[in-house]
Symmetry: C2
Subunit: 284 residues, 2 copies
Amino acid sequence: MTEQSQYITLINGKPGSTVDINDRGLNYGDGIFETIAVHDGVTLLWDLHWLRLAKGCRQLSLTIPDQETINQELKLLAGRINKGVIKLILTRGIGKRGYRPDPEQVCTRILSSSPWPGKKDGQERAGGIETFISNHVIYPDPQLAGIKHLNRLTQVMASIEVNNEESGYNNRIGIMCDPDNNLVEAISSNIFVIEKHTLKTPELINYGVAGVMRENVLIQANRLGINTEIKILEKSCLNNANEVFLTNSIIGIVPVKRINNNMFKVGEITSKLMTAIKQEKYYA
Amino acid sequence: MTEQSQYITLINGKPGSTVDINDRGLNYGDGIFETIAVHDGVTLLWDLHWLRLAKGCRQLSLTIPDQETINQELKLLAGRINKGVIKLILTRGIGKRGYRPDPEQVCTRILSSSPWPGKKDGQERAGGIETFISNHVIYPDPQLAGIKHLNRLTQVMASIEVNNEESGYNNRIGIMCDPDNNLVEAISSNIFVIEKHTLKTPELINYGVAGVMRENVLIQANRLGINTEIKILEKSCLNNANEVFLTNSIIGIVPVKRINNNMFKVGEITSKLMTAIKQEKYYA
């Protein structure tokens, strides 16, 4: 199989590479997406991705797509890849002018596969990264919180700020807070803090994307008997944290060695969870 | 000229109808747009649209497009229309995976013309509409406030709520407030309140779209010697308001006769401004 034929795109089940300019995904960011890791032809954590996709549809009053159809399309794309990424975009479809959707409108379903992003492999960062608190603030909007919708200008703007950051940090995954200086998430990833043997992650009912790997880490922690807390986490909790790590469905778990002046070790709980995730073949 | 050939789309200057699935407009709502009224082949208020477009580019670190190129393309589209609408979308262009834009990336420029939306003609509503306060809240995000970016899920969700509204109101332009019960805007339009001969409109530094017709109304009011105030407006100000109207670049000025239990008249200041706008041929 040639390199070219490995990576393909299906739009509503048919090969393609473009969408109509009247698609509401383009006009209003009216839709949701999932970014799925593929190893050895298998879509990792697909069950959790599907649950979040369905939650997103309910929250945005989008029609939940037929699961069997998506399963078949994913299988077609994943079967061609050894290690790669599938992005799934679901928009409210092609619409007329104006915000108000036509109830009869049919969603646009885009599945496309791409190569594994080399530099973003968690294993290359297993020793831990050094990072910082972003100046970019995540403002609350409970109406859109938790789901992976297509309105992502906040993340884009934060990533531009981070691009301009001329610091000594060895990466550019800035960590973002809400206006009250509570931790929210990092760009494209969720944050976990370990303090006194308890694994803590910010509550995401007012903002943020509740990541699939975040969910998986919480499941694994419960299986391992690690105490977990999902709550508002003030930024100042980093002063007392023993371990910190970031998660997403592609990078898996990435330990954090430093955030600004706070230093952390790659400790026991982080290591246990990294091992659990590898053993589960969730992140190989 | 046939009906079909009247309305056309130019994508980066060439006829087309689709964008690449990797366009950042689709993936992240990473871009801005303008909706421009065309009367007798003339793009109305284009100078104000251009100023806002440029402001949006600066706020989002997008490259400001060449004004002369856009002027020529607008002329081409507007010249074919008696009365219609041109939508201009500017996205950060086709990108690789990930929020962080490539600094070398070239914007996508989409101009498309469409027929005048009959039912939304302000003149049909000149006698005033009856409307209500939406349950949908506009949350502050000063980083994205004022400009007409492509992250419009809040407006989409509000319009769905309004669609479901089974009230006696004769239209579905719900008026939205912030979490502290201050007036923000209506769906697709700005709100003005007249109290004791002063024209007031909400300050939009923390949220909202600063509409081009809002700007034009403020300019006309100054010319007419009407006292204006741009400030935080508590919802309760409607209890003391004499006149209320909504604006956007397509509907012009639409008087509001009723919001929930508050009744208003189509008074002197509203009428003066409607006349001024018509005389200026800004809204014919």
